[in-house]
């Protein structure tokens, strides 16, 4: 099977070739399946971000963290909030992404943006979208990785509600943000 996609150079601003999306999805599904078989748990990304946040706040205000009902769970019984497999998984995601982009010749410092948006505005939007997602992922007990992908593959009703809502939210706002991308 032809893994490399011959026409993907036409995709916006991507250097080098990408995998065919169905082949990439199949590979992603195998990774997810391996996680179920080995860990008994899917893939997660936002859980580690929450723990990172707890770790950062506890450097400044440890008593405040311990008293908080959410962050307190991460430091219960004097635990280090970063000693959790979710954090290790995110370290792996970073390393895997770094190696893949390096080997494909795509690892290059820069800002991804459409032709009609300035760099500062693009960065402001990237950061504020991230804040909103950090909040949303905690509310939904997971993000597109842990909830939509992992929970969706296990056919959890809540995960499918979440997944459809993500698409709904994205499509609802897409028109207003078109200048950022096109």
């Amino acid at each position: 099977m032809n893994v490399e996609n011959p026409t993907s150079e036409s995709v916006d601003g991507v250097l080098g070739r990408l995998w065919n999306p169905y082949v990439g999805g199949f590979a992603l599904g195998l990774v997810l399946l391996a996680a179920f078989l080995v860990l008994g748990h899917g893939i997660g990304a936002s859980g580690a971000a929450a723990r990172l946040g707890t770790g950062a706040v506890s450097l400044v205000a440890p008593e405040h963290v311990a008293a908080n009902p959410v962050m307190g769970e991460h430091v219960r019984d004097g635990a280090n909030p970063l000693t959790d497999w979710l954090v290790f998984m995110v370290v792996g995601i970073f390393l895997g992404g770094a190696l893949a982009s390096m080997l494909a010749g795509r690892q290059k410092a820069g800002v991804t943006r459409g032709p009609r948006i300035s760099v500062p505005l693009r960065l402001a939007l990237a950061g504020s979208g991230g804040i909103l997602m950090g909040f949303a992922a905690r509310l939904a007990r997971g993000c597109t990785s842990g909830q939509a992908l992992s929970g969706g593959a296990l056919l959890s009703v809540g995960s499918w509600v979440f997944m459809l809502s993500v698409f709904a939210g994205g499509y609802a706002l897409a028109w207003f943000l078109r200048r950022q991308w096109r």
Binding site: I43, I93, G97, T112, M133, A140
Partner: protein, 408 residues
């Protein structure tokens, strides 16, 4: 017989997951987590998910990689899980399935989708973008961290909403009342149809956005998608061919009565999953007269009952018959299957241990049970059997072990 096979079904254990939540230490997860994360990040990057413009294109319909990759992955993993469960390799009930909280999932999903189109990434893909050197990706990662803290700080004001619409672990197969492999296949077939639709949508919207439509669904990938649907069908066939799932142990409240022969079979076959309790008055039990193998006295067992692992079968007996509903409270509350030996010690000694079974007791046995008597007699008394000298142990055909028929 039914009681026996039912017990076997619930006592079966599967090999996988390798490091489930029970048993394995937290540290055992670290290395597999970093390796799985590595593979996840690598595949995300190669699928183009380290690039915000490709991700955002999903919402402008000219490139639907997000949908294609995500749904192929979901179908692959769902069908894979169904196959592993149907083959008896994977214990579905020990997988972590996210609980359903309807309103937080709905609102959280909408907010995350809005954040997605604003930042151009989701939390996982922003890590890959940062790893590819993209400053906007790194800022999204930072934002997600900050947003999590904001959530924690504001949590006291909406803690009620955060757990509203709770349905517990609730899956589409639970909801629709169909088997998980059937559901996985349905999702696969649906996804295949939607992939064809996605290609059509791209063909319409790519020219409008001055893009060249990415050609991705050709013979090879069509075969891949069809193969996934086929594997789902295979899992469904296996699932439907399996015996009906046994009643879950929780539903088996109240004790059932089993014959001395069935009790003997359990003692031979599954001694370690059996807790035998002698309910005779203290002297008769503690003196050990006619006590069943591995039986303990009530006085010794009362304090340990609460700490016993689930999945065990409790076999209780007295001198003669005990009414199943008059068991001591501690035994009646046992979190598992409770069986009472019909006829008590009297039946045990006169059916199994006696050289020739008492005719009045043997009359109540089925033909299968009668056929087992000589072997059980020999096993528990250690004497050779006159009629079957070549079979000192009972040969008992084992049922195929399947946990809950693949669903839980």
């Amino acid at each position: 017989m039914n009681a026996l096979s039912g017990m076997e079904l619930t006592m079966a254990t599967s090999l996988l997951p390798l490091f489930g939540s029970e048993g394995a230490s937290a540290e055992a997860h670290f290395l597999p987590a970093i390796l799985l994360g590595f593979a996840f990040g690598f595949v995300l990057e190669r699928s183009g998910f380290g690039n915000a413009r490709i991700l955002a294109a999903q919402f402008y319909l000219y490139n639907m990689r997000v949908f294609k990759v995500m749904f192929t992955a979901i179908v692959t993993a769902a069908v894979g899980v169904a196959l592993a469960v149907s083959a008896g390799l994977l214990d579905f009930s020990s997988l972590y399935v996210p609980e359903t909280f309807l309103w937080p999932h709905l609102v959280g999903g909408m907010l995350l989708g809005i954040g997605f189109i604003i930042s151009g990434y989701c939390p996982g893909t922003s890590i890959v973008a940062a790893a590819s050197g993209k400053l906007d990706g790194a800022l999204t990662v930072l934002g997600v961290v900050i947003g999590s803290v904001v959530y924690s700080e504001l949590f006291p004001w909406f803690s009620d909403f955060a757990s509203s619409g709770s349905l517990g672990v609730f899956t589409l197969p639970d909801w629709l009342g169909i088997g998980p492999p059937v559901m996985a296949t349905a999702v696969a077939v649906m996804a295949a149809a939607m992939f064809i639709g996605a290609e059509k949508v791209e063909r319409i919207f790519a020219p409008r956005a001055d893009k060249v439509k990415e050609r991705s669904l050709h013979k090879g990938t069509l075969g891949l998608v069809a193969g996934l649907a086929g594997a789902g069908v295979a899992a469904t066939v296996v699932f439907l061919a399996m015996p009906a799932p046994a009643e879950p142990p929780a539903a088996a409240t109240g004790a059932t009565t089993i014959s001395a022969v069935e009790a003997g079979r359990l003692l031979v076959e599954e001694p370690r999953s059996l807790l035998v309790v002698d309910l005779r008055p203290a002297p008769a039990c503690s003196e050990g007269k006619d006590r069943l193998p591995q039986a303990v006295c009530m006085a010794d067992v009362a304090t340990e009952l609460a700490a016993l692992p689930e999945g065990r079968t409790l076999l209780a007996y007295g001198s003669f018959d005990i009414a199943a509903d008059s068991l001591p409270v501690e035994l009646a509350a046992f979190p598992g299957r409770v069986a009472v030996l019909s006829g008590g010690v009297h039946a045990w000694t006169h059916l199994i241990l006696a050289a020739s079974p008492a005719p009045d007791l043997a009359a109540g046995l089925s033909d299968n049970e009668k056929a087992l008597l000589p072997a059980l007699h020999s096993y528990f008394t250690g004497t050779a059997v006159a009629v079957q000298p070549a079979a000192p142990r009972p040969t008992i055909k084992r049922e195929i072990k399947k946990k809950g028929g693949g669903c839980s």
